[in-house]
């Protein structure tokens, strides 16, 4: 059994994930509203309760890759003066 569930869900703000949620299951947010969730009953219930859409790991990684590629392209297009506050977005490999 996979350690994680993958899905997309819009962070609606307060209450989207609670203190208790964080203790009940692993949760990691990523670009493209991709969430990596600990694969247990409470994690699965949480994703469903947030109107989340379950993805395969490959699908989730593709969404993240597309977001990062777009961000890298945007950063590369900035004038040098405007690149100084932040670093070029780096690739993210989902666990």
């Amino acid at each position: 059994m996979s350690l994680y569930i993958y899905g997309t869900a819009i962070n609606t703000g307060k209450g989207f994930f609670t203190h208790q949620d964080r203790l009940d299951f692993f949760l990691s947010g990523n670009p493209g509203n991709v969430w990596v969730i600990g694969n247990n009953e409470k994690g699965a219930v949480w994703l469903a309760s947030k109107n989340g859409i379950t993805k395969t790991k490959a699908e989730a990684q593709a969404i993240v890759d597309a977001e990062i590629t777009a961000a890298q392209t945007a950063w590369d297009a900035l004038p040098d003066d405007e690149k100084t506050p932040s670093d070029r977005p780096t690739d993210i490999t989902l666990p």
């Binding site: 203190h19 964080r22 993240v64 040098d80 003066d81 977005p89 993210i92």
Partner: protein, 334 residues
């Protein structure tokens, strides 16, 4: 078999309500709820989602507490002068900052905030860094005593009338060691930090502040584990941060009880660490790796607010930290 009163030196009281300040491990019977109860079950630290900001941005400034936070300036595609106020659940618009800027140093409270310096690259060929100092009263910003040097990336700790600003950079990025103290109207030179730094975690007071990691030399954008403490006169070495990071402006608390969250170690991190005045220890991580975020939080190490930042794109995301605590639980036999 030992009796409870022999082990604990306490009897199991029959009470109509939970005691106000139960001792760790104390057991009592609550006759109203009909439960045998115990104090001392540890609830681990964690970050929960807070209300989303209205404007997605990074390199923003922050001040205040988890239930009375203040965010201003920052950037996405535009560079903002937007101010937002947090009430523990949602963000609402505040008065606009006098200039558009990113990486403005920030400290204070929601009703007495202080902004220092900043950067606005599109203002070229005019000087892109700012000497602007502005003070917030809960509804509008007014000019404070101008910062003696044109800087961005400055770290600021203390209050609107007793602040310490240190480090920062000239444009584009030459890091500084200077520090300056503010009394609410004028700045006076303080002793220099031992290490040049910018975009770092700054917290505490004018006489007991903490400067954590941040952009460092060589190269002006290196990561570092270096930490320094200010006693009102001198900067001395603090306990080394557990990972080398930069752009970790999410920090709150005091010099001896601080929590730092997010940053960039080459990649953006979700890590958070607690400082006790001499050493750092890992605590619960943010849900999402972020750098150039802002932070707020008054209670030492037990509450914090991380908002905004860059997590692959400028974000509105807010997270609320609650430190480990003990709680009351029912004792059941099933």
């Amino acid at each position: 078999m030992s009796d409870y009163n022999v082990i604990r030196g306490l009897t199991v009281k029959y009470l109509s309500d939970d005691p106000t300040n139960p001792e760790d491990g104390q057991v009592w019977y609550n006759s109203t709820t009909g439960n045998l109860r115990v104090e001392g079950m540890v609830l681990a630290a964690a970050w929960a989602s807070g209300g989303n900001m209205s404007t997605a941005r990074y390199s923003l400034s922050g001040a205040g507490t988890q239930t009375a936070g203040l965010a201003w300036c920052g950037r996405a595609a535009p560079i903002y002068n937007v101010t937002e106020e947090y009430n523990g659940a949602s963000w609402t618009a505040g008065g606009s900052y006098p200039v558009n800027g990113n990486d403005v140093g920030g400290t204070g409270t929601q009703t007495a905030g202080l902004g220092v310096g900043g950067l606005n690259p599109p203002s070229l060929p005019n000087p892109p860094t700012k000497t602007t100092v502005a003070e917030y009263d809960g509804s509008s910003w007014t000019a404070g005593g101008p910062y003696p040097a044109s800087r961005w990336q400055v770290g600021v700790a203390g209050t609107q009338t007793a602040a310490i600003a240190a480090g920062g950079a000239t444009f584009p990025t030459v890091l500084q060691t200077e520090s300056k103290e503010y009394d609410g109207s004028t700045w006076t030179a303080g002793n220099a930090m031992n290490n040049a730094r910018g975009l770092y975690g700054a917290t505490g007071t004018q006489t007991a502040s903490l400067a954590t990691a941040g952009r460092s030399t060589p190269g002006n954008e290196s990561t570092t584990t270096n930490v320094e403490e200010y006693d009102g006169t001198n900067w001395t070495a603090g306990g080394a941060y557990l990972i080398a990071i930069k752009q970790n402006r999410g920090q709150s608390g005091t010099q001896t009880a601080s929590v730092t969250y997010g940053g960039n170690s080459g990649t953006r991190v979700a890590n958070a660490y607690i400082y006790d005045g001499s050493a750092w220890a890992a605590t619960a991580s943010l849900s999402t790796a972020v750098d150039n975020n802002a932070g707020a939080g008054a209670a030492p190490s037990t509450e914090a607010l991380s908002f905004g930042g860059y997590n692959g794109s400028p974000t509105t995301q807010t997270e609320e930290f609650t430190g480990a605590s003990t709680q009351i639980k029912n004792i059941t036999t099933s």
